[in-house]
């Protein structure tokens, strides 16, 4: 019997690719998923040592299992899928088609006709191979909710005939952003969880893995590289972001020796690759900001502010305006920064009062700062951030 760790890592690496290939062979995402699960169950029984190409083994076994299963069923879908399978006998596992399969599956999971939570759940389930309880735990929603979202999404893919294909060049500008958003949101949910513990490592790693695969599949899309660079540069600082007691450590106070050097070098190299293409977009600019933060021993705030100006020109959102204000404070002082917060409308977002409180404190307006910290503490979603804000507030006394 195979060691649990081996099978676990093979499963993580191969699951999404196998589902993607089977989805093409079967013309149906749900059937593909069942077939791949069947094949992994067989692998658990049969493998002594893993075969040299475990993915190919899984695909062949899944395909044969699917044929068996379809022969036993007589529904219209089953006959259709069986016909598809028989038209493509023993197709060799070439690199080209497999890469296309993966891309097709990514674009299907993140199709704009699906609701955002469904896109995320489907991506984690089909591409990441995460189980429903894992996804539910990560998003702190009941398992039944996630299971239902996934079932409904798969039903819509079939009923509405959401195609299983890579969008062409003309469609890509509209279709790529939702894919990037899904990967970014998976990472962000792991990084700043909306409730409970601060970092859920698994989600961050899964998002980085998927972004890396996407960058490998679409190396000519600068925003894809930008997203990967951004995630890697944030991920590199994770070991320094939480202190021994689980408390939040700000960028300025982080022990830089704890940062992951390899990831920082990778992130910087990716940012340079993006810059050479000279087709900037929001993810590339955010990656560049993080590259400045991780360059040398201290942040060059003038450069950060210039990049935030560029980002705001691209995406004039209140969150960008808020982050820009932090850079304004470093370059032009807290008074100017405070004025730039006027007119930012972010109801319920704790970082707005948290930033305002910090600026008030720096200006010596202690009473106002205290009241504004209270406002932020009430809105903060997780324990680490609440503790951080309480400490800041008590530093005022």
């Amino acid at each position: 019997m195979l060691g649990g760790m081996d099978l676990e890592s093979i499963y993580r690496a191969e699951y999404g690719r196998c589902v993607a290939t089977l989805a093409r062979l079967l013309g149906d995402v749900s059937l593909a998923e069942e077939a791949v699960q069947d094949a992994f169950a067989v692998a658990l029984q049969k493998w002594g040592v893993p075969p040299p190409n475990p993915g190919a083994w899984i695909v062949t076994t899944a395909r044969n299992r699917a044929i068996d299963r379809l022969r036993r069923e007589s529904t219209r879908e089953a006959r259709h899928a069986q016909a598809l399978l028989l038209r493509q006998p023993d197709e060799p596992r070439e690199v080209g088609p497999v890469r296309d399969d993966q891309l097709r599956l990514i674009f299907t999971c993140c199709h704009p006709a699906l609701a955002p939570l469904a896109q995320t759940a489907l991506t984690l389930r089909l591409l990441g191979g995460l189980e429903v309880p894992e996804i539910a735990r990560a998003y702190l929603v009941p398992e039944a909710t996630i299971a239902q979202r996934i079932v409904r999404a798969k039903k819509k893919i079939r009923d509405a005939a959401i195609p299983y294909r890579v969008p062409d060049a003309a469609e890509l500008p509209a279709r790529l952003p939702p894919v990037l958003t899904v990967l970014y949101l998976i990472f962000n949910e792991g990084y700043t969880s909306t409730a409970g513990a601060l970092v859920r490592t698994g989600l961050c790693q899964e998002a980085v893995r998927l972004a890396r695969e996407l960058a490998d599949l679409m190396p000519d899309e600068p925003e894809v590289l930008g997203l990967l660079a951004l995630l890697v540069l944030i991920e590199a600082r994770r070991p320094a972001r939480v202190g021994p007691a689980g408390e939040l450590v700000t960028l300025a106070e982080q022990d830089r020796s704890l940062w992951n050097r390899e990831q920082i070098a990778e992130g910087h190299a990716l940012v340079r690759r993006c810059l050479r293409r000279n087709r900037p977009g929001p993810y590339q600019i955010q990656a560049a900001i993080n590259a400045v933060h991780t360059d040398g021993s201290a942040t060059d705030w003038a450069q950060v502010l210039a990049l935030y100006d560029q980002l705001f020109a691209h995406s004039p959102t209140p969150v960008v305006a808020l982050n820009r204000a932090v850079a304004v404070a470093e370059v032009h002082g807290p008074e100017t920064a405070l004025a730039s917060l006027d007119g930012i409308d972010l109801p319920g977002y704790h970082l707005l009062p948290a930033t305002r409180a910090d600026l008030l404190a720096r200006l010596g307006r202690t009473a106002e700062a205290r009241a504004t910290y209270d406002e932020a503490i009430t809105l903060a979603g997780n324990d680490a951030e609440r503790t951080f804000l309480r400490n800041r507030r008590s530093d005022l006394d």
């Binding site: 219209r76 199709h111 006709a113 009923d159 509405a160 005939a161 959401i162 195609p163 294909r165 969008p167 469609e171």
Partner: protein, 118 residues
């Protein structure tokens, strides 16, 4: 091939279009209809008179009742629709975009049930 309903939802409480806008929308919809027909996508389509022209017929327990007005008393009502036949949702969505631009209103895309095998 699949069939899709492209339903135009109209807010009947909103201020009506000016005559000029109305003429523009008619001309644009006409052009889209021609395009749908020549692409072999068109099945059926048309604009509806306002919901105050509607009558609901209901047969319950052998009794037939007829009531004046639309089925649902909502501000948003079906204003017109297309039925199209195309390969998949992406194709239907691309046509819906053209239709929405032409009629200057939101278009809901709904797949038909597959026809039973004959």
């Amino acid at each position: 091939m699949k069939q899709y309903l492209l339903a135009v939802h109209h807010a009947y409480d909103a201020p009506p279009m000016s005559d000029e806008e109305m003429q523009k929308a008619f001309a644009q919809v006409d052009r889209v209809n021609t395009e749908l027909r020549s692409a072999g996508i068109w099945v059926f389509g048309g604009g509806l008179l306002p919901p105050d022209s509607a009558t609901v017929v209901r047969v319950e327990g052998g009794n037939t009742t007829m009531t004046d007005g639309p089925f649902a008393e909502t501000k948003e009502q079906l204003g017109g629709f297309w039925v199209i036949r195309c390969a998949d949702l992406d194709e239907a969505l691309a046509w819906a975009e053209k239709c929405s631009r032409a009629c200057m209103g939101p278009v809901e895309v709904r797949p038909f049930e597959d026809e039973p095998e004959g």
